[in-house]
Subunit: 271 residues, 4 copies
């Protein structure tokens, strides 16, 4: 593979991705936090203020939600983007939100500081090409059954359009093990740091699917060299419209942040 | 799952999907054949005439090709559709071709008698919704790591738009075994016939990735109850721009058809 | 791989395995049937007479049962072997039974006409070596997560001891799909026929884990070139001490045999 | 599952496993190091002295080696045990070595301070029962395709014989990803700490199969809560008779130990 996404040699500098004032891929370990889905203005504002206070640098929240069933809650869409815009204005937190349809790009780009491509769309080449053209930073989640090679090729679809602001996010792969929602491939983190110059994140929320396992796996990811974490946080996980089982409440998120700091420091990073 | 795609009870009649004059899901076992990608007018016409002569009822051929690398041959696009239109006019064979981008729907729908949704797009909900609205028959391939349940939900995205003309196509799933390109889940065929009223196809070309294994697996699929086969056929597989390793030449396809007839008959079907 | 188990060239004759008067790997398609576990003399005798009448050539039945939990029913052991010996004497059916411990070999060999190595023991090298030395025919099931290559190497452990009477049995591999107990790798059948000269069986009972799917998958296996089938049959599956969900009752087995004959004939075999 | 291996409630004390003077499962993070296979007295002595100096508490080394091919180097067997005994006497390091055959137990138990059950034998119930009876500590590796539940049941086979000195070792599972030898299931560590009171180790050498990835994954395991690490160390990995690709040389092992200390400290452990 002779790809733009590939690290040419050990000396090649790693790519830093800039989202608002936040630098991803530098010495600072970056935490993106927020709910799976945007449910209401109060939910997002409350969560944003709390995760910001606890050390998160970016806010996540889905307006468009890919759901296995067409009959599940599929997001508040334009209304969700509007809420995100308001909370961003109030808190100053840059926002990451998922785009599922190239035709929504203009609308989403008005609010999003970073565009998320979800697992199901990792090989949606239309979408990859369009976000490549947009020049906005892209948060590219790994496909459920994608090899590292296929993932880097997906990044290449974006980079081939002249957009080098790509962050790779490991979020668990599908295996035979069903105690957890997915199987976090922790080795993907150092493997990608060798293979590519792009920043690598870990999403232990989707990776594990169980709130009680999110923190230990998050710490594992930091120690293994991740450049950041994406964490699902919800004011009341038991009432969440999606992914409640894997969402941390504020208290658990606070505890994670506290435990993360010494681990980050132990591997030469800061939060 | 209380889905339109689900079989309500054993008495419920199976859905017949009509493509041109061809009925999928009836007593006739339907064979779709043709090359992976449309490469030239001569290639498509030659293949169409030959597979038609040998008993295929529909022609396949990709104008838009999803490829892992952005630098691979990605199909002849509009020019490919044009070739398809000409060959269809000449031979009378209805055509199945893949759609990757909802924005191409109008163009593709001018030629296609059935729209193929490829594995990578099985959960591209935008695309599913749009082909649902189109009312054209849809050939829905299973995602590489999709469960039967997720697959039926994908069909439901199409059917929820009022389009019940959906054919499910097993094309192999991703497992640890790497002697073959994918692992054909033969059990999916009878399982889906129980779970759903939709017709079920098998694509042993992608399923195995090896030409020498296509025929025995195709016969296995017929015996297990498949309503049809999708087979990659190329005049000169060794020169194919994609999927040459798994394509049958005319002679091998002729032999498959000959071997398929008695097997189909043994399970009460005809080709 | 330059192995005894490998087919040297297309001309090499396939190995025939002889079990009593039964030839496995010849034109005759061989059916092994019987319950998962030996529960009582009546159960085994009744099943043996019925499956024999319906066309099975060998009787299966486990005296030693590998069970995930140490607290599950683990077989009637010596008493089970005694039952098997009596039923064999009465019916003349050769018997296949599992050996789990090399130290039981002498005892088991007094009764068994073919020794079964179960999936969990496919890489139990001690056991493979000992059954190799025994010179009894060996029925080698594929490991849950074994590649074709590893499987042939397991056969090689037996053959390297001078025992070439080895039958390979595909029984499903472990994948992400959980609608079925395992995923039958149908392609393994023709792939092994190319790679090796050993006979290849299919066990659709363990492969699917659901009685309603056993027959269609069995037919698929025949059409794909299997040399035989291993089928779990129980007089009253709902009362079985193990594997009841996947066991056929006499009526379902009779129907399978009836449907199997024309399919076998369609691919040039007889039952 | 109402198993001895299961944690009854959050208050239940975790099991400490004592191997010589070493306590596994306490505040001390325990490192087991040494070569895959015992090749010579010099190799083992040199490695033992070096890993001891660098902080390892136990020595690993295989006298009996399970190998996929019967024609590969399968260990020095009795001669290997003899070497291990001498090096243990000289260095005072307790030793962990694999047992593959219940019939070797008496011989192996003369030297081994802890018996290793390898992945291929995780469901070799004969062997589990015998090591259960032996009362020696057991190092139980996870099967290649075993769920957490099946793994705990395997431990139960040992514990049901009255032996509660069991350590669980995650060593990677088999998935579709082939850049690495296996996929380390990092989440298994905290999941097992919740489900069971037994100590949990990580073997990043087999888990990754690549020396360059061993250290970051080892650090990840510590941060995720592992009670210890098993690391393959060889004086000259490029000359190793097995597993050279994944073995650390002395320098790399020294660096790992240095990096491990602050991470262990960050999660409240010591090395």
């Amino acid at each position: 593979m002779n790809l733009i996404a590939r690290r040419k040699n050990e000396q090649q500098e790693s790519t830093a991705v800039r989202v608002g004032d936040v630098i991803i891929g530098g010495p600072q370990l970056v935490v993106i936090a927020g709910p799976c889905a945007i449910e209401s203005y109060e939910q997002i504002l409350g969560t944003a203020l709390e995760v910001q206070r606890l050390g998160a640098s970016l806010l996540r929240g889905g307006a468009y939600k890919p759901r296995t069933s067409p009959y599940s809650f599929r997001g508040k869409r334009e209304e969700g983007l509007e809420i995100l815009a308001q909370v961003k204005a109030l808190t100053g937190l840059p926002v990451v939100t998922e785009i599922m349809d190239a035709r929504d790009l203009e609308e989403v780009a008005k609010v999003a500081d970073m565009l998320q491509i979800g697992s199901r769309n990792m090989q949606n080449y239309t979408l990859l090409t369009e976000v490549g053209k947009s020049k906005l930073p892209v948060f590219l989640k790994r496909g459920l059954a994608s090899t590292l090679e296929e993932w880097l090729y997906a990044a290449e679809y974006i980079m081939a359009e002249g957009n080098d602001q790509v962050v790779l996010c490991e979020r668990g792969i599908r295996t035979f093990e069903n105690y957890t929602r997915n199987t976090v491939d922790i080795t993907a983190i150092p493997a990608l740091k060798e293979l590519s110059h792009l920043p690598v994140f870990l999403d232990p929320s989707h990776g594990t699917g169980r709130a009680s396992l999110v923190s230990p796996v998050a710490l594992g990811g930091i120690a293994a060299g991740a450049d950041g974490l994406m964490i699902e946080v919800h004011p009341q996980p038991e009432l969440a419209l999606s992914d409640g089982d894997q969402s941390l409440d504020f208290e658990a998120f606070a505890e994670l942040m506290e435990r993360a700091r010494p681990v980050a420091k132990a591997v030469g990073r800061e939060i």
